[in-house]
Structure formats: structure tokens, C-alpha cells
């Protein structure tokens, strides 16, 4: 089964229809998703700024990371659940939205960046824990993370704009390819 078929099937489930047709539940979920930015990205950004050496310079990096991590993780959990519900309310249009696709890609990139950071330079954090300005590779991870979160926010906001929807033809070929639009190919 293709992903598009899966999304179409998902859209036909009672939960998806109910969510799609509800006004208040959808509004509450989208509000939760936006407001949780403060908890998730807000706490993540503080750690990234510490990695860049521009805030909390006298606090050990591992202290900042350790104390903020539970809050970032909690925010992430709320983001994933509310985000999944927003997707569940409109599966095929979201799946074929180029901004949604860009956002998913950016989330993967942000995840890889965090993973690489933890597996490499953060392993020896004891060596640079107290440095006011951490080593280059840690700064690079912090800076990249800030870029990825900013781009994720932009693409997330753009999902609401339907300029490139598959239903709005004609579109440039590149848009149809990137959005996975099924166009008539006779």
C-alpha cells in the first residue's frame, strides 16, 4: 500500500472524520501545538545558546543540558502527540503539502544533528564542561540546531498556506513532483 493510499484510508477512519469536522477540538489541539513551542523549542534554544557560549557561560554545559532536558522532552512529547492529531485530521492534504514534507525532513535533520552531537563531542563533555565558550564542534551543533528549529517553525507555519496544493493545478512540474501530486499522465 502506498503512503498516499494509507493516508486516504486514515482519512476514512471515524476518528479522522470526527477531528476534521470538529471545530473546537481541532482549535484546542492546534493551540496546544503552537503554545508548546515555548516549552519544547524554548528550552532547547537555551541549551543551544549555552553551546554557542552566549548565555549561562558560568554554568557547566552538562548542568544546563541535564536540568533542561526533562522539560524539552516533555515539550517534545506534547508536540508529537498534538502534531500527529493535526495530521490525523487531514491526512492526504498534509501528506501532499510541500511545507509539511519540508518540516518532516527538517525534523529528521534536527534529530540527526542532536544524535551526532551526543555520540561525539558530548561524550567528552567533562573535558569542556566548564568552558565559557564550548569547542567548535559543540558550537556547530548548537548553531545548526537553532537553524533547524527556525526552519521547522517557518515550514510548520507555511503548512496552513495552500498555494501549492495538488488540487490547485496547473503547478510547476517541480511542485507536483515534490508534493507527490498524482497528475494525469495520458
Amino acid at each position: 500500500m502506498s503512503l498516499l493510499r494509507f493516508c486516504e484510508w486514515l482519512a476514512s477512519t471515524p476518528g479522522s472524520i470526527a477531528l476534521h469536522e470538529s471545530l473546537y477540538v481541532y482549535l484546542i489541539v492546534s493551540t496546544v501545538h503552537v503554545v508548546t513551542l515555548t516549552l519544547f523549542v524554548g528550552t532547547a534554544v537555551m541549551l543551544d545558546l549555552r553551546l554557542l557560549g552566549v548565555t549561562l557561560r558560568s554554568v557547566p554545559v552538562s548542568e544546563v543540558a541535564g536540568r533542561l532536558w526533562p522539560w524539552t522532552a516533555m515539550g517534545f512529547l506534547v508536540m508529537i502527540v498534538s502534531g500527529a492529531l493535526l495530521f490525523y485530521a487531514n491526512p492526504p492534504p498534509r501528506y501532499q503539502n510541500i511545507f509539511f514534507r519540508a518540516k518532516m525532513l527538517l525534523l529528521v535533520l534536527a534529530g540527526i544533528n542532536a544524535l551526532v552531537f551526543h555520540r561525539t563531542v558530548y561524550r567528552n563533555v567533562t573535558e569542556w564542561d566548564l568552558d565559557p565558550v564550548p569547542p567548535g564542534r559543540a558550537r556547530a551543533a548548537g548553531g545548526l540546531a537553532l537553524l533547524f528549529w527556525a526552519a521547522t517553525i517557518v515550514s510548520g507555519r507555511m503548512i496552513a498556506y495552500d498555494w501549492f496544493d495538488c488540487s490547485k493545478q496547473p503547478q510547476p512540474k517541480i511542485v507536483n513532483v515534490l508534493a507527490g501530486c498524482v497528475t494525469d499522465t495520458r
Binding site: 549561562l56 517553525i153 507555519r157
Partner: protein, 161 residues
């Protein structure tokens, strides 16, 4: 009602040359909205760091005053992003805002939140370590969190079509 006398200002905002010129661009408003959301994330980080600390979470090994001092420039920077971007977004649909209760709730809670944060909370955070009743610190943090949450939630409702 006194508010009614403000309506001409709201109408002027929406039809100002600046906004009319900005409407020509397809990308400009979505980009301003995105910048406003990035500011939201940063405001969140800067506010939460201090409130969590006052509640006894987050950077609890550092003195409250240090955490507050470190958070302050980021709070100011984020407000420096939020206020101008928010004002542009407001101008673009000022008349709609005028008739939206959520908009007035947002403006009222924003005003209170700003005063509370920069006067009450700051005063408490800068007090010498140990001189503040922990219960009072927690109450201040909870008030701050409620105020800023209501700004954010009402803001989301303003944006809803």
C-alpha cells in the same frame, strides 16, 4: 463606549500605505508570522527558565538572581522581535482584531504580564538569596506562567480564521 472611539485608528492601520504595500507580497505576511512564532519560542525559553527556577525546577543549583540576569537579555531580544512583528500582523487585520474579544484579552494580559515580569518578578528574583519566602516565589512564578500562557493562547485564537 470609549473603545468605539479607537475604531478609526484600527481602520487607519488596516488601510495604511505600509500595509497596502505589504499586501502586494505573497510571502511577506507568512514570513512575519513565522518570525513572530520564532520570537514566541524564545520568549518561552526566557520566561520559563526563570519561572521554573522559582518553582524549584530547571537550573536549581544556580541562584535565582543569576538565572534571571542571564535570561533578561534574551527576554528583551525576544520582545524586540515579538512586538514589531506582532504590530505588523495586527495592522494587517486591525478591524477584525477590533471586534475579536481574544485580541483584547491578549492586549490586556500582555500589558499585565509585562509589568508583572519587569516589576514584581524582577524585584523578587533580584532579592538577596534566602530573603524570599519560597511560597511567595512559587506564587509569583505561577502568576507569571498564567499571564504569559494567556497571552500565547489568546494570540493563537486571534490568528484563527
Amino acid at each position: 463606549m470609549a473603545l468605539m472611539s479607537l475604531l478609526p485608528f484600527f481602520e487607519w492601520c488596516e488601510n495604511s500605505d505600509l500595509i497596502v504595500a505589504m499586501r502586494e507580497s505573497l510571502w511577506l505576511f507568512p514570513m512575519i508570522e513565522s518570525v513572530h512564532l520564532m520570537g514566541l519560542a524564545l520568549v518561552g525559553g526566557a520566561v520559563l527558565m526563570v519561572d521554573l527556577r522559582l518553582l524549584g525546577f530547571g537550573l536549581r543549583r544556580q541562584p535565582v538572581a543569576q538565572v534571571a540576569k542571564e535570561a533578561q537579555p534574551w527576554l528583551l531580544a525576544s520582545l524586540g522581535v515579538m512586538l514589531p512583528s506582532g504590530f505588523l500582523l495586527f495592522m494587517a487585520s486591525a478591524v477584525k482584531c477590533f471586534y475579536l474579544p481574544a485580541f483584547w484579552v491578549k492586549m490586556a494580559s500582555l500589558s499585565v504580564a509585562l509589568v508583572f515580569t519587569f516589576v514584581v518578578r524582577r524585584h523578587l528574583a533580584m532579592a538577596p538569596e534566602g530573603s524570599v519566602n519560597p511560597l511567595r516565589a512559587k506564587a509569583v512564578a505561577l502568576v507569571s506562567l498564567s499571564l504569559w500562557s494567556s497571552v500565547a493562547i489568546a494570540g493563537r485564537l486571534v490568528g484563527f480564521p
